[in-house]
Amino acid sequence: MAARVLTRAAVTLLIVLWTAFAAGPLLWVAMISLRSTGEFMRAPYALPEEWRFDKYATAWNSSGYDIYFANSLIVVLSSVAIVTVVGAMAAHCLARYRFPGNRVIYFLIFSTIVLPPQITIIALFQTLANLGLYDTRIGLILVYVAIQLPLTVYILEGFFARIPADLFDAARIDGYSEWATFWKVAFPVAMPAIATVVILNTILLWNEFLYAVVLIADDAKRTLPLGIQKFMGDQLEDYGMIATGLMIAIIPVVVIYAFFSEKLIQGMTAGAVK
């Protein structure tokens, strides 16, 4: 009995400690983001004396965040939309049709997942420069589509392959074209997996840094992760303001997660990442 109580206490303690460790840093930045740098330097771990929500407006206005934010929105939404459609088409095709080379193509696309980015990034830079797409949002969007394509195809193919063949036969009997079968039958049925892919890709690309830093130079085309880095440099020792800037970058993703976490987990449980 005593041992039981002890184990219980130990487990509880571990859970409490891990929770503090996992969530503490975010809470800390959230606190700093509402305090002035002076207050922060006097007592780094105190609660705000005065909740300075106006700092968010200041950070937003002084940092060019509106531009970075808009760029991130344009780039991420476009690339997610394209990669979802392109990936779904390929995945559907690989899952549904039997043809020589099917598995070879699947394996080729899939094996790209383990490709280290070093192997492509330098040449991608050269290629985009040749095409006149270096330092353009379109160039970045195309690259984002390419790097997220393997993951998208992989997750969707797994799901499409489990759609019962009867469904397609029924569609054929109803006189659907192959194209219509994809859009009106396969795509809607695969919605849970599509949702997972969309959410995952959105989060991943929203936070992407390496390709953006290499492929974008002009300040007016920077995405948010680059913007944060620049903002940090501009503000130097103004920790309070930097924290506000960090929070502005974090909040959208947390909101997306808060709304869609169930969907994401459902999708993953349903076999997407299993």
Binding site: G87, A123, L246
Partner: protein, 316 residues
Amino acid sequence: MSTTDVAAAAPVRASIPARLALPAERPAWAAIIPFLLPAAVFYVGLTAYPVVRTVWNSVHEVLPAGDIFVGTAHYAELWLDETFWRAVRNTLTWAIAAPLLEVGIALLLALALYAKVPGGRFLRVAWFTPVLMSYVVVGILWTWIYNYDWGAVNVLLRAVGLEDWANPWLGTTGTALPALILVTTWMWTGFNMVVLLAALHSLPSEVIEAAELDRCSWAAKLWHIVIPLVRPTLLNLLVLSCVGKMKIFDLVWIATKGGPLWSTETVSTYTYKRAFEWSTFDLGYPSAIATVWFVIVMAGVGLLTWTLRQRQRLEY
């Protein structure tokens, strides 16, 4: 999150019976080609071609004015490049240590939530949040946490009377890499936990209940019953985490830039430095780095897949 962290590993996935059930008929190329074409264009143009071009670069001096063929000169130099091998060692250390930590802790946490701890929903969200932040944000945040004067780690140490242990964690050669590995563990454990929890929930509950009846210790239960049951998920997560760490760039770039004394230099940061920071505009040498690393990674993945296959064959 790096792009492929989330991809599960193919080798361990079971084949899909639905496809096999398809009628064996002549391939409908008219339907297949339009469906595949867009993906193929992206794949060939922005993945396959760059790989080939990188390999081509690696035997040239690639300067803005033009390319000069140098044969294997870059490879010969690379063989003697201490910094490169240092970067390889660091990256491999990271890619081996981090998955074990992340997935190990995640399994324990998932079991705790599976045992219906009060507030499970809240905990699941709280533990997951780190992975939502970008490495840039995480890098800035953790340089603050490791700050010598007012960072949380040293403040805590001083608070419990261990003042002598206070240390500039990211500035000391011995601690910088472990400190960064801890950051990735902090970031990814929650993600792994959520996936594992989902896997646990999808197990038939009788199996685990049956184990409850046996009076074996929890450690034995864990080892003999739970781990074998979720083994495919565990393996997927380990491989996934490993692949992600082999690419790590942003975090190091923001937090230490590979210092001090190259102790946190990774292959990604070194390639980037040589390509875009070094005081030459040559892209050939960094391409050689990329090529060699590509071979190392592919060999590693191949070996891993092969060992896992062998083991599976032995067991079944």
